[in-house]
Symmetry: C3
Subunit: 276 residues, 3 copies
């Protein structure tokens, strides 16, 4: 086992790693978390034996919660990573392009840029009883900037993508599966066993086959870098809009990133956020 | 409230309008209806406060029934609208491109060009007990000409799109949801409340966020104008085929656009339409 | 009725043929089967009255089982067919481009290149109780080479396509429908009646309407020949990899293409294939 705060890498076998997010209190996606993902990607790229990575959380209430809204995002939307794209996008794009298969095993809340993280993973399996997944950005005066608007229409179709993004609300496990937002939702007691069996199975296969198959699927299923960059640039502009800043402040004042109860349910208040 | 026969606009709040189709007896899509939609689009384009429009019907048995087959279609496939495309296409394309979110709240029958209307809306919610949705054109010697063949494959996948279009049959609410033809089907008693809550939620958001998110999703989810025009031109040619005219006459003779019982169930007879 | 081993053509009516695979013991897809499909396509191309073909199996345990792994594949990946593409691809591509509608009525096992055959059909209906559908190639050190990696993402979305292909496991009827891998799964007792009614309905329609509608849907839903060829060439290369040959030999040694029980369940062993 290797320790890399804010995530741990557990090498189940040389071909199969579990990556456990453990960044109290809420696994917020800030510059530190993205740096850890960048370090992880470098290790994945350097490891010839690796076939599959499972991403999970040490906190059953929060998978990854959302993009940090208190300013701790460093230069992740401006500095570029190894792909030549800004760090935020580089992280997600390199996961999609990696010859290693990636599986998001979801329990708890995962919203906004963190929903975009799981959308960048090859597969998504969610707890039926314990999942709150969504893209609430539009309710904060923003919009998805890390690939959500580019990836969701391909996965769930235009109508459901527009509902997810413009409605800015949470989806539970059952609804997320029905829409195709996740591959499937499993009873919480079966989730670990299902994902572990799938990961061990993939880990037993020839890495060249896994990589070749994923490369072929990528050719017909990945959004263009131009479209992704357009979204990220537009997101950066939206962060500066006065009404957006007003909405962000209203959320922080109500307890976002501080109060655990509010952190669990904040998309529920977005339709009345600026009311007295 | 503003009266614009054959539809009414109810301004719930400045950011949220309900548009109620009320064009007895069956809400048939003829030149008058398309003119009303063109007028509505001009009003929508001119209104800065608007975020979301819900389209519904005053008649629980017919949402919009289908393209008029008695010749009252004026020049809607030839004269061009503000987008430079023929009125039929212009109407649907401008709904998809509008910065305003559009929601089809479906009760009753909605077929052919009217199915294509709801496919042009951003989201579709249908009554579980009271929906008959389909593209029956192929059974009339025609084919969808208003975007159905271009939009359905993206939404439901090629196999289900081919079944919907080549099978030319009705889908009830449950099947339509299962195929992804509508976002979801809700028990009829819950439909109004669900859609109203979603619309009020979107209406509370910043219009720039709604517009930017929709623009990004549109970039990766809208069919090209060339493909849409190809379908419309082919549809225009098919209208002149002798066997098509024979099928249209057979339907009119049996009661289409006249008899309410036949109007409700006419796709059921298409497999035996030319039998004695 | 016409006899064309290894398949029979039953002309229900001039517009509707049933094609019954009957190639004991397992309906393996070898050079003989592809030649029969090539002959069938020539007959379909020459028949003006035909509107729809239903593909089914005489053996309820095997629809089409999989690509032959004992070397009886002749020149189907090298010699070109009428489309200018290699026979394997030519067969599938011509089914997709044909003006005739194609329906796969699935009972039993159908895997690998045979899954790719049903993905090339316009529609897929499966027995709820008796379907084992999958793309197990990656578990054999290969990857789909006949269009699976190009067609699945469009039909089921990227995440589910990656699970199907990288997981290399069977899907039963219920899961296949839930993922959109088949149009729908029906109780076995209803499958024949449902498909027959749909086929007779399409057979009654004007062939020009069927062809025009399918042509329009094809424009926005078929993969490019370049992507298909890329996959086929990569598949050909993978067949020569030493570890792949080791996996194929292990399967043959355990009973593939010989033992009926093993033939039914072989994807289940892929995760432990090279263990002692």
């Amino acid at each position: 086992m290797t320790e890399l705060a804010p995530l741990r890498v557990i090498e189940e076998v040389p071909a199969y790693w579990r990556v456990v997010f453990d960044y109290p209190p809420f696994n917020v996606a800030d510059a530190t978390l993205f740096q850890a993902l960048q370090d992880l990607l470098a290790r994945m790229d350097a490891c010839q034996s690796l076939r599959v990575v499972v991403f999970e959380s040490a906190n059953p209430e929060f998978y990854l919660s959302h993009f940090d809204l208190t300013g701790k995002t460093g230069n992740i939307t401006t500095a570029v990573g190894p792909s030549g794209l800004p760090i935020l996008m580089d992280t997600f794009v390199r996961i999609t392009r990696s010859p290693v298969a990636s599986i998001a095993k979801i329990r708890g809340c995962v919203r906004g840029a963190c929903s975009e993280f799981v959308l960048a993973c090859d597969m998504r399996f969610a707890s039926l009883e314990n999942t709150r997944l969504g893209q609430p950005e539009v309710g904060v005066g923003l919009h998805p900037g890390g690939g959500g608007t580019e990836r969701l229409p391909h996965i769930v179709g235009r109508g459901r993508a527009l509902e997810i993004v413009l409605g800015a609300n949470d989806f539970d496990g059952e609804s997320a599966e029905r829409y195709g937002y996740v591959n499937r939702a499993l009873p919480d007691a079966e989730l670990d066993g299902f994902v572990d069996a799938l990961a061990r199975r993939i880990a037993s296969f020839d890495g060249r086959s896994v990589a070749a198959a994923k490369r072929l699927i990528n050719q017909v299923s990945l959004p263009s870098a131009d479209h992704l960059l357009d979204a990220l640039n537009s997101f950066g502009a939206a962060l500066t809009w006065p009404e957006t800043q007003q909405r962000v402040l209203a959320l922080l004042k109500r307890g976002l990133q501080q109060d655990v109860d509010f952190e669990k349910r904040w998309p529920a208040v977005l339709g009345r956020l600026l009311e007295a």
